[in-house]
């Protein structure tokens, strides 16, 4: 039972963290929970579809279907996160002012909710399909009993707990700091997902360049252990990354940082003068 619990929990940590971050980002904004919930639901449906058609997906595109699919959905998530950060930088001034208001309703925020919902859906879809396959395997094998299945579901429950802990860990940060914290979190998250996407392109044999291993820290901090897995999601830690993964990671972070800087409106005199009057 413990074995199944750990396998499932390890898979859902990433999705759990991302859901928690998305909830914290949109906290208090009307309608935001529905968007995140819709993202989770879409992810679950997608995960079941991917699990159900695992054989066909794997055989598609000359046996590269699974890798190309994973690389594409991860790329989509990276684009959404980048776009979200740029949007936040552009509208950050208005947002942080409204953060102190209790019943704030950011009318123009709908598009970023959609972006976050897509990110949540992708995370749930990827991890969820593996969990679904694992639990399905237990069910049809008949060799392992009910307790293994129970362990699997307990692992899912722990994943949900990670979401709540992440959410409450983030929302105790004062609103002014939360804004900057989230921007850093989202950037690192995007870098890590871009590196994962690059790994799938290499695995598919689509990209053969830069395949050398940058470092091997699997003996010190394996990235499939619980702590390694959390770092893997939050900052994109990998214990045996390829050079291409390193390039994708740094390139994505650099691109988002520069784009965010460019998007942020220059501080205007008018705002500076009107501020003390409030």
């Amino acid at each position: 039972m413990l074995g199944a619990l750990i396998i499932v929990f390890r898979e859902v940590i990433e999705a759990g963290l991302i859901v928690g971050i998305a909830l914290a980002v949109t906290r208090g904004v009307r309608g935001s929970r529905q968007w995140i919930a819709a993202g989770v639901l879409a992810g679950v449906v997608g995960a079941l579809l991917v699990a159900g058609f695992a054989g066909q997906l794997s055989a598609a595109m000359a046996g590269r279907g699974q890798e190309l699919f994973n690389a594409s959905v991860l790329g989509l998530a990276v684009a959404m996160l980048a776009w979200h950060n740029i949007w936040m930088a552009r509208h950050g001034r208005e947002l942080s002012r409204e953060l102190s208001d209790v019943g704030r309703a950011v009318a123009s925020g709908d598009k970023t909710f959609l972006a976050l919902a897509v990110v949540v859906a992708v995370a749930v879809l990827r991890e969820g399909s593996e969990v679904a396959l694992f639990l399905y395997g237990i069910l049809i094998s008949g060799e392992s009993g009910f307790d293994v299945l129970a362990g699997g579901f307990a692992g899912l429950g722990l994943g949900a707990l990670v979401s709540f802990l992440t959410f409450y860990g983030l929302v105790i940060i004062p609103p002014r700091r939360l804004f900057a914290t989230i921007s850093v979190l989202v950037t690192l998250l995007a870098g890590g997902l871009a590196a994962q996407s690059a790994a799938f392109l290499q695995q598919a044999g689509v990209v053969t360049a830069l395949s050398s291993t940058l470092w091997d820290t699997s003996g010190i901090l394996p990235d499939n252990g619980l702590f390694g897995r959390v770092l893997h999601t939050l900052i994109g830690y990998s214990d045996q990354p390829s050079a291409l993964q390193g390039v994708a990671y740094l390139g994505t972070i650099l691109t988002i940082v520069i784009a965010t800087r460019l998007a942020a409106p220059a501080p205007r005199r008018v705002t500076a003068m009107s501020a003390p009057a409030e």
């Binding site: 055989a59 594409s72 593996e130 237990i138 053969t208 394996p222 045996q240």
Partner: protein
């Protein structure tokens, strides 16, 4: 955002098409199967500095995930299914792979020499 996704997939297709022609000729081909959550053979050999195409057949009814950190492979194989894994050229050494869903029994090694 749809455009971006479409471009990405399109680019990947193009890349796959370009590489499929050139890479096949020099690849080393290996195969193994999974039965009762064990790899057979549990040890496979390949030449060094050569790209490897590994075919994995899953003879079990249950799905398995073929995984290896040093080989950087993570791939689901449906029950009764078969899949191809592309491995980058390796330096001589012993590389471990395992079945993520049954790690206790499904373990094997790729020996590169």
């Amino acid at each position: 955002m749809m455009k971006f996704g479409a471009k990405l997939v399109g680019g990947a297709f193009l890349g796959a098409a370009l590489l499929a022609g050139s890479a096949l000729a020099e690849d080393a081909s290996l195969s193994l199967s999974i039965k009762d959550h064990r790899f057979s053979p549990a040890e496979i050999r390949a030449p060094a500095n050569t790209a490897i195409t590994l075919t994995v057949k899953n003879l079990d009814k249950t799905p398995e995930e073929f995984e290896s950190k040093p080989l950087r492979v993570e791939k689901v194989i449906a029950g009764g299914g078969e899949t191809t894994v592309h491995i980058h050229p390796l330096s001589p050494g012993k590389y471990r792979f395992f079945g993520d869903y049954h790690e206790a029994t499904a373990e094997g090694f790729l020996i590169v020499e």
